[in-house]
Symmetry: C2
Subunit: 301 residues, 2 copies
């Protein structure tokens, strides 16, 4: 755990609804420490996060990629808060301020999926791109994006999991599990939606189970929306559900079939295997992206 004084170390937090992944390091090739802390109450979880990073000071900065909805606007009085999450105990929590007050370092703060997008841009499958989408399909579905080389925020931040899509109830009578929208994308295609529809966890479904073509259909519909609205140069699909290898070719074929040749870009019509891809950082896109947020925070100080 040695380090030279002229090479700063950074902290990264990928804050999920189940666990916080915390990492100390500089980049994917220089990871000094990593731990996972269960997401219980803000007091307990933040306390353990602060203890972990406190044991690795001095750090140049800490980056946070958090579940949301949250407030990513530096000019807002609630900047750095988790805002309206339905997760018990976590609504209106001053995440950024709590960590900053305890550890007295610059803090980078964004959504978990924007952090993952930044991680993929910095070291992964989106290097050199200007405009792309990172989508995670797991317990929930969420998307981050960079546009013109900047993380996308706009009004608040995207909510790519809550798209309203065609839902053929004859093919799939399942009503959906989203507490807000029922059969939005997350309601139809998240891990919990698959489990509720098929009665078993997604990772236990055989590759030739009819669950997968249906899942690919919903994801392809969503990707077509992202393509029509944002015109990304690449779409990265991560998260637990995407660990089913059969899914990528089905999603790619689905996107081509739905677009029907209308968008004449070779990336889609000829090389879609390089257009819709897995993360370059495997399951560390988010926490390494948090390290990249920390590095930005130092520059922004």
């Amino acid at each position: 755990m040695s380090r030279t004084s002229d090479v700063p170390l950074y902290g990264g937090i990928e804050a999920g609804g189940t666990k916080f992944v915390c990492l100390v390091g500089r980049d994917p090739t220089d990871i000094r420490a990593e731990t996972q802390i269960p997401t219980t109450t803000p007091d307990e979880t933040f306390g353990r996060v602060i203890d972990f990073f406190g044991g690795h000071q001095p750090l140049a900065a800490i980056g946070i990629g958090s579940f949301g909805p949250l407030d990513p606007d530096p000019s807002s009085p609630t900047y750095g808060y988790i805002t309206s999450t339905p997760k018990p105990g976590w609504a209106n929590t001053d995440f950024r301020g709590t960590i900053r007050r305890a550890l007295d370092v610059p803090i980078g703060f964004d959504t978990d999926v924007n952090a993952a997008a930044l991680g993929e841009f910095t070291w992964g499958a989106a290097q050199g791109l200007d405009t792309f989408v990172y989508l995670t399909i797991g317990t929930g579905i969420g998307g981050g994006a960079m546009v013109g080389g900047r993380l996308l925020h706009g009004l608040l931040h995207p909510e790519m999991g809550h798209l309203l899509l065609p839902h053929d109830r004859q093919r799939d009578p399942f009503a959906g599990v989203c507490p807000f929208h029922g059969d939005c994308l997350e309601g139809l295609a998240s891990g919990p939606a698959m489990q509720a529809r098929w009665g078993q966890r997604a990772e236990t479904l055989d590759p030739d189970h009819p669950a997968w073509p249906l899942e690919a259909h919903y994801l392809a519909l969503a990707l077509v929306s992202y393509i029509c609205v944002l015109s990304p140069q690449r779409i990265i699909l991560g998260g637990g559900v995407m660990k089913q290898a059969a899914l990528f070719p089905l999603v790619r074929q689905g996107v081509q079939a739905l677009l029907k040749g209308y968008i004449r870009a070779g990336e889609i019509t000829e090389h879609i295997d390089r257009y819709i891809v897995p993360p370059g950082l495997a399951n560390r896109s988010g926490v390494l992206g948090a390290i990249a947020l920390a590095r930005q925070a130092v520059r922004n100080e």
Copy 2:
């Protein structure tokens, strides 16, 4: 038609499938000449455009906002071309190069809807915003956007009219008119779609005709997609179909009803009348945006 030598004039072209609107001036308060030229063949239409602007030289630059699909990538060999349009005679047309060679001035080039977005940003309803959408609903449906203060391009340019949306065929058995996708947004909600469904032109339908709540429903579904993917700070709705004043309140109510309070931004939950708005430049967003493209082209030379 006098001008002082130190105040340059610009040309703007809003190129549509029916007509080209050409304007000479500096901004909305200083318009020196304007004309409309029918869209016939490229040779004839470009010839008349060149004659018009040739009579107003010297111009500092000309901006073009064109129907598409087109190639807006300055690094591409077909930059400035209209590419894969189904409009007879117009596919693979070197729009930018033809105008540039004839008039020997810098040329700004983008989609008609990106030009309109830039016009609204510069002088209209999007002044001071960072991230917003301009959507036109008329003969076709198309969207432009600025994100982080820049016009959105990405892979090519957005195709916001070709979103695939929930289509309740019991409520609306109409199959849609899009030659590519059938019942995409443009297929269900453009002016020609309304005319085909109801047997009369949209502008002749009474304000209490059932066409309008259905139209508002499709537009609200599309706007929810733009909000989930792009998180715009405002959405501007222009084009001939939006001239029906009854439509704006219906679309606003539809968006709120579909989002179900999930995106807790006062702009949507409280002040949606300032969030979904008509253009500030009325029907001149596109051609004035082309003037703004011309001004950018001078800076980029």
